[in-house]
Symmetry: C2
Subunit: 372 residues, 2 copies
């Protein structure tokens, strides 16, 4: 359009004037309509416009006639409010800040997608960011997001972030923890029932006839992992298998080589079944087993955590613990919006979602294999 116009008109212009014309176009670039523009175009005060467009016409006894005119003008002049100004004035930004550990991690990208959709349903937008499980990043991102004027936060807290989270609570920032929580803090959260998750998996393995069940976990103080470990331990103990409890912790700085080492150990012992406590550990484990030419389930039974395409591609698809991602994400958003606006979308103060065990052929009845 612009170019067409320029071509048509420039016929009549000297070179000098063309640049004037250009300048004029640039200057004339339709600035976004503000409340003032609407006001002066209707010959009324800016306040009136604001009142009408915020649905407070009744309260301020603005005439129906005027309300109509204002709305018509707003539509015609394509007015939409400047969120930055609204935000400064002390209003809300309709923005939720989300900190996950890594948005490119399939678990968190799936959860983020659902957070996005739910937030949109409730008329919020989402600022995502990734902490890389790093405390400094987490603290920086919290500051950045608050500084951006987000109305509330959904945070996957990393190791060591307890105090930062406590500060947020003390400052009355609307906050919901996701995926993990700090049981000693009075904070809202939306998590898997991690204890039940490994309990379910361990019970299943025991029911299938396995006794020497080993866990692969990683080094952390985070509550969600400790719960997973506890679920395994307690179930083993209940079954009188306390002597077989075997927990292997991997340092995340070099997961592949540490996994190799751990698996090497396990095969020197009498481990019959492996339970991996995270998705990343599961996938690494599967890769390493393949490297070592060990077959699931012939050489070892295997239970993974969270779905992965990789699980279903094996000759024996992998039994895994499935999280109700939709529910966890939905309720996190519901809760934070409740905190922000006093609404009551959330089913509960705190969400501890039930896991599901998707049973596939990586965990067959043990006697089928050994006694036939």
């Amino acid at each position: 359009m612009k170019v067409l116009l320029l071509n048509r008109i420039s016929i009549y212009l000297t070179l000098n004037r063309i640049s004037d014309f250009y300048h004029h176009i640039t200057m004339a670039k339709e600035k976004r309509t503000s409340i003032k523009d609407l006001a002066s175009s209707l010959g009324v005060s800016p306040a009136l416009i604001s009142i009408v467009l915020n649905g407070k016409a009744k309260q301020y006894r603005i005439s129906d006639e005027m309300v109509k005119r204002v709305k018509a003008a707003a539509k015609e002049m394509n007015y939409y409010p400047n969120v930055v100004a609204q935000n400064l004035r002390g209003g809300k930004s309709q923005l939720i800040g989300v900190i996950v550990t890594d948005i490119s991690n399939p678990f968190y990208s799936t959860i983020s997608r659902r957070i996005e959709d739910r937030a949109n349903e409730l008329n919020y937008n989402v600022l995502f960011s990734s902490s890389d499980e790093n405390l400094e990043n987490t603290e920086r991102l919290i500051k950045v997001l608050l500084n951006k004027g987000v109305d509330g936060l959904i945070v996957v807290p990393c190791d060591g972030s307890r105090n930062s989270i406590a500060e947020l609570i003390a400052d009355d920032v609307p906050l919901v923890l996701l995926d993990r929580n700090f049981p000693d803090l009075d904070v809202k959260y939306s998590c898997l029932d991690n204890f039940k998750a490994t309990r379910l998996a361990t019970r299943h393995l025991i029911d299938q006839g396995y006794e020497n069940i080993s866990v692969i976990s990683y080094e952390t103080q985070m509550n969600h992992i400790m719960e997973r470990v506890a679920g395994y331990e307690e179930t083993m103990r209940e079954a009188g298998l306390e002597k077989s409890i075997n927990i292997n912790r991997i340092n995340l700085s070099n997961p592949r080589s540490e996994m190799r080492e751990v698996l090497g150990h396990l095969f020197q012992g009498n481990t019959e079944a492996i339970l991996c406590l995270t998705n990343m550990l599961s996938i690494n484990g599967i890769y390493c087993l393949k490297e070592m030419n060990k077959k699931i389930p012939d050489d070892i039974a295997f239970v993974g955590f969270n779905r992965s395409d990789v699980f279903n591609l094996l000759d024996s698809p992998v039994t895994y613990i499935k999280q109700p991602i939709e529910k966890i994400a939905n309720e996190a958003v519901n809760r934070v919006v409740d905190l922000i606006s006093g609404s009551s979308y959330a089913a509960d103060d705190v969400i501890i979602a039930d896991p599901e065990l998707v049973i596939q052929s990586s965990t067959p009845k043990k006697n089928v294999l050994t006694h036939t």
Copy 2:
């Protein structure tokens, strides 16, 4: 802290007064330091503070003595600027809106992560959203993001969005297309060299001795897919294999069953090698081949698109076309920031990134298999 304090003092208070006290605490909640606070604490004007903290002291001939005092006070009172106010004043939000088709798709979540990081490096934040390849969603999201006051947009355009994109350009919205583009529009973009990508793959297959190479694509008018098809076709023609050109298009509404059908056809014909034009098609293809008990590469050679964990888990890891995701994401951000602020971070006006072919054992020399 708050609770401790409350307990101590409440001893002396009636119930009524406790709520007063609570109210008082809430009111007293340390408000964030503003420029005004600094100014009055130093007995100078707010302008001076702003000038000093923006490094314009020289320009405004502020004394060195004063500069020191201001900086010391700012540090001591833990001042940091209110970004919302800065944005209002400067008309910028330091926000980039990003529309991908689905943030939970591994390709886009990986690219989003890099967009996030690069944007942060340039002092921007990112609003992500997902269009689900849907035109209405795309148009709605563009509006929503502009309403949020984003300074610029990075968009993965969906089928049929040409006109919406053209409008954005006409409105001078800083915009960079990602992953796909419209060659007839004068718009910035950051994409893979799609033609070269399939050219590379097809060439490789031909070099390995395959002649009957079939492509699996999907129904779309989008340029990036047409380029991929063209790269294949032209390479086949150059090699004198025009008669073997075989392009199969799948409707995305039901990919798995359509894939089964297509593969069934291919096995009835004389296809020796399959080239899948997207990651999703590749993974679906691999699943279906497994279902059909067909082995890669014994029964058929296979080239995939974009990396996937699945590719490397097969007995013969899959040869695939690798995109320089980092570069594509980086340059998209660079470009849009350049458009917004007149900087010049981007290497070029338009980025057409070189693909890389990661050669693995799914595409062995043909004669090795057939003539030994």
